[in-house]
Symmetry: C2
Subunit: 371 residues, 2 copies
C-alpha cells in the first residue's frame, strides 16, 4: 500500500463493486433513472478508485439532495438541439451531468468516426465528476479527445480575488497500445475538493493556492472551503498562482477559455451566472479527433506509447524515484484498490450513512471492513 | 511609454514598416521567395510590436543562416499529403515555418467554414514565431482556434532535468465584437527567448524557471541560455515548476500533449528526435471551430466580449491597477509602437547589421532614430 492508503483517517475499506452498487441505489432511490444512476455511480467511484477522492462519493450527498429537492431534473433526457454533422449541441435539461456528458461523448465519437473530427457541447447541465473518465472513453475508441466543463465560480483570474471561473479542468486523452494516455487537471493550482480532503486529513495549505477576503494568501483549509462555498471573498488561484512571475496569467487563460468554450460557445451559462435561481446551467465541451483519419491508428498508438515510454525513462531528479507520466499514479492506485478495496474516510462514511438514511436504504458502513 | 519601452538598453527606435521591409529583404536576399519572406517578416515584427521581443527579429539571424546554409529549404512549397475533408496534413518540405503554418491556417478556416470544424497538421516544418498571429488570423474569420507547435527540446517534464519538450505554446483565440480574444503562452513557466532577453537586460532569474545540470534551480540567465543551446544539462521547467505542489505535473501534461498532437498525430518528429541531421522536422497543429455552426456568430462574439468585460471589471487585488485579460497588454504596446516606433536593443541592432552585411543589403541601424 502507498502512504496514501495508510492514512489513519482511512480505517475502513469497501469493495469497489459494493460502493458502486450503493451509489447507484442511493441515486436511484432518490429519483434518478437506473441507467443515469449507474453511469453517475461509475464515474464517481472511478474517482475514488483512482485516488481522486475529492471527486468521488464524497460528493454524493450534493447529487442526492439535488435530485431529491428538484435542483437536478431526474427525468431529463439529453436532447440534440443543434446538429451540424460534426458540430452538435445537447440540451441536458438540467439533468445529472454524467449521463448528459456521456451521451455527448458517444455522439462525438460517432461523428468523428465518420468525418475525422467533431465537437459536441452540452448546455443546461450539472456537475459531471472527473473529465478524465469521459476523455478516456473516447480515447478507447481511437480518438484524441479533449473534454472540459465550467463549474461553480471559485477561481480568481490573475489580478483580482473575485472568483469568476470554475476549476474548469483541462483534460486530454489519446489511445496507446497499452490503453490510453490521459491527463485531467483543474486550471486552478488545486481544486476545492483537494482542500476539503486536506481539511479531512488535517494537512496544511500552501501559499499560492488560494486568496482570502483581504487579497492575501489563505492558510486555513476549512475556512477557505467554507469561504468558497458561501462566496465569502475567498478564491482559488489559477495554475501559476497570483502573479505573472510564475505564470498565473497562463492558468487564468486556461480557465477563461474553458468558460468560453462551455459558456458562450455551448450556449450555456458562464462565470458568475452559473448556479442562479436553483439551476446550475453548466456547459461541457467535447472534442474528438479520429487518429484513423491521420494514418494507421495502430502505428499512431504505438508512437504515442513510445513517446510516453521515453518520458518515463528520463533520468529522475530524485534518485530512487521514477518519472511519471499522466495516469501512472492513477492506474497504480486503481489496481491496488480493485484488489484490496477502496479506503473511505470516517467522515465520508458518516455522510454516506446519512444519505442511506435519507433515501431509506441500508447503510454503507455495514459493507465496509477494517483496513 | 511604459516602463518596458524606457529601458536603457533600448536607445534606438525603428518604424514598424521599415523593420518589416528590412526583415523581408534580408530573408529574400538570403534565398527565400518574396511571399514567404513577407509573411515570415510580418509574424516576426508582430512579436516585436506586441512586446514579445523574444520571438521577434532577435531570431532573424537563425532564419537567415538556416535559409543560406540550406538547413531550411527556401524553395519548399507546403503540400497537402492527407486530405480527409475536415482533417488534413501538410508536408512543409522543410521550408520556413511561417508560410507553412499560414497555409495550414487558411486551409483549416476554409474547411471549418464548410463543415463547422477542422484540424490541419503540418509536418517537416521549422520554427514559426508566435502562435498567436496564426490563431488570431483564424479568429478574425469567426473561428475558435487552437494552435500549437513543438520545438527544440528544452523543457524537462516534472521529475527529471532532461529536456524533452519544446516550449510548445498553448494558444487559443476567438472572435469578439472588438476583434479577437487571444492567449498565447509557452507551456514552460518562461521561454528561452525570455531568458535571452533577461540576459540582454541584465535582470535576475527566478527560482522555478529552470534547472541546472545538478538538478538544482538555475540562477544565471546567460549560463542557462548557453546550457540550453548546447544541451549541457540545463532545462526549463514546465508551467507550475518542478514539483506537484504548484502544479508542475499540469504544465508537463500540456507540453506532453503538444508533442503528441504535433508529433505522432501530425506524423512529424517529436521530443528529442527533432533537430537531427540538419533538419528540424517540427510539427504544428491547428484546430478551427466555426462559431457560425453553433448559432448566430455575432451574438456569440458579443457574449465573448461580455465575458471579457466582466473579467476586466473584476476588483483588482492591487489598488490603482486593473485586471487584464489575454491580449490587453499586447494591444496597448502594439498601438504605442505603431505610433512611436519599435524599440530595438543595441545588441539586436548589431545582430541585424551583421545580417545585412551577411546578405549584402543596407544596414538597419541607418533606419533607426533616438528614443
Amino acid at each position: 500500500m502507498t502512504l496514501t492508503d495508510s492514512h489513519p483517517g482511512w480505517r475502513r475499506l469497501i469493495e469497489a463493486a459494493e460502493l458502486t452498487r450503493f451509489t447507484t441505489e442511493a441515486l436511484r432511490t432518490a429519483g434518478a433513472r437506473h441507467d443515469d444512476a449507474a453511469v453517475t455511480a461509475e464515474v464517481l467511484v472511478a474517482a475514488d478508485l483512482g485516488g481522486v477522492e475529492s471527486h468521488g462519493v464524497a460528493r454524493l450527498r450534493r447529487y442526492v439532495e439535488g435530485v431529491r429537492n428538484g435542483d437536478i431534473n431526474s427525468s431529463a433526457v439529453p436532447e440534440v438541439v443543434t446538429d451540424n454533422g460534426s458540430v452538435c449541441v445537447l440540451d441536458a435539461h438540467n439533468g445529472l451531468g454524467q449521463p448528459a456528458l456521456c451521451t455527448a461523448v458517444d455522439l462525438a465519437v460517432d461523428r468523428a468516426t465518420r468525418s475525422g473530427i467533431s465537437a459536441v457541447m452540452v448546455r443546461r447541465s450539472n456537475h459531471m465528476g472527473i473529465a478524465g473518465w469521459f476523455a478516456e472513453r473516447a480515447a478507447r475508441a481511437g480518438m484524441f479527445a479533449m473534454v472540459t466543463t465550467n463549474a461553480v465560480p471559485q477561481v480568481a483570474p490573475m489580478g483580482t480575488n473575485e472568483p469568476m471561473f470554475g476549476t474548469n479542468p483541462f483534460c486530454y486523452a489519446a489511445p496507446t497500445t497499452e490503453g490510453t494516455l490521459c491527463f485531467d487537471g483543474a486550471t486552478s493550482t488545486v481544486s476545492r475538493g483537494k482542500l476539503e480532503q486536506l481539511d479531512r486529513l488535517q494537512e496544511p495549505m500552501q501559499p499560492g493556492w488560494a486568496l482570502g477576503p483581504d487579497g492575501r494568501p489563505a492558510t486555513e483549509a476549512a475556512e477557505t472551503v467554507t469561504g468558497l462555498i458561501n462566496r465569502k471573498g475567498y478564491a482559488l488561484l489559477p495554475l501559476g498562482g497570483g502573479s505573472r512571475e510564475h505564470g498565473g496569467h497562463k492558468g487564468s487563460a486556461l480557465g477563461l477559455f474553458a468558460e468560453l468554450l462551455c459558456g458562450p460557445l455551448a450556449g450555456a451559462r458562464w462565470s458568475r451566472h452559473t448556479y442562479q435561481g436553483g439551476e446550475a446551467g453548466l456547459g461541457h465541451f467535447v472534442l474528438c479527433l479520429n487518429t484513423a483519419a491521420l494514418g494507421d491508428p495502430d502505428a499512431i498508438s504505438a508512437e504515442i506509447e513510445q513517446l510516453s515510454r521515453e518520458v518515463r525513462d528520463g533520468t529522475p531528479v530524485e534518485p530512487e524515484t521514477s518519472v511519471r507520466i499522466p495516469g501512472d499514479r492513477r492506474r497504480l492506485v486503481t489496481e491496488m484498490r480493485l484488489a484490496n478495496g477502496v479506503p473511505v474516510l470516517e467522515s465520508v462514511l458518516a455522510d454516506l450513512d446519512a444519505i442511506a438514511h435519507f433515501v431509506g436504504i441500508d447503510p454503507v458502513s455495514s459493507l465496509t471492513y477494517d483496513s
